[in-house]
Amino acid sequence: MKKMLKNISTAILVFSSVLTTTVNAETVKNMPLTGLIETPNTSFNELKGKWLYVDFWASWCGPCKKSFPFMNALQTTFKNENFKVIAISVDDTKAAAEKFLKYNETNFWVFHDPKGILAEQFQVPGMPSSYLINPEGEIVHKHKGFTEASGNELMSVIQAELKK
């Protein structure tokens, strides 16, 4: 009886650990990126060697809209330093994302992740969320949400990381 209960509990533990295993997002895995509008399709492997500012956004997210001018400024400020801003939309439909982009100008690359595959790999904690990735593909800074103060903080962090 005790042996059977022990076997059952061991089986449950093993089964649940298999189900809950997630990809470690600290080093970015090679994942395909589907471009929106004029952004070409690419992958994280092809972008290795550059500093990346990856931002997850959606057309239904108010703070995401506020972060777009900041990302434009970021791309302009660091354009000569091997730095690329990448915004990934998690909208269900391409049309919703493209409608948003029609009214919000961007000078950075925008990709689409309708099924949340990339968002899940990065374990996005909230909307918006941003990640600073070094040329080796390691996530060196994470930021959840966006406010006016966030812009200044992020700019300082990025400047400090680029100087290292």
């Binding site: 059952i8 997850f56 949340g116 968002a119 909307m127 969320s129």
Partner: protein, 72 residues
């Protein structure tokens, strides 16, 4: 012994049938829609609040949290 096994199996089945689910942050698009708010029409909500307040001679105690995109 057989009873214990039945209890354990019953618990496992009951937990697996649970309808609770976690909505991931990137899946909250539908929750952010205007019609998903507790009071989608602000003017209607204000009028209702005024009517209740005048009938009960007291204000407050209404409104609730929840819904929305949960951004920031």
């Amino acid at each position: 012994m057989l009873n214990n096994i039945k209890i354990i199996l019953f618990c496992l089945i009951a937990f697996s049938l649970s309808a609770c689910t976690n909505v991931q942050p990137w899946e909250k698009g539908n929750l952010a829609k205007k019609e998903m708010a507790w009071s989608p029409d602000a003017m209607q909500a204000a009028m209702n609040s005024q009517v209740y307040a005048s009938k009960e001679s007291s204000r407050g105690g209404n409104g609730s949290a929840g819904g929305g995109c949960g951004c920031n």
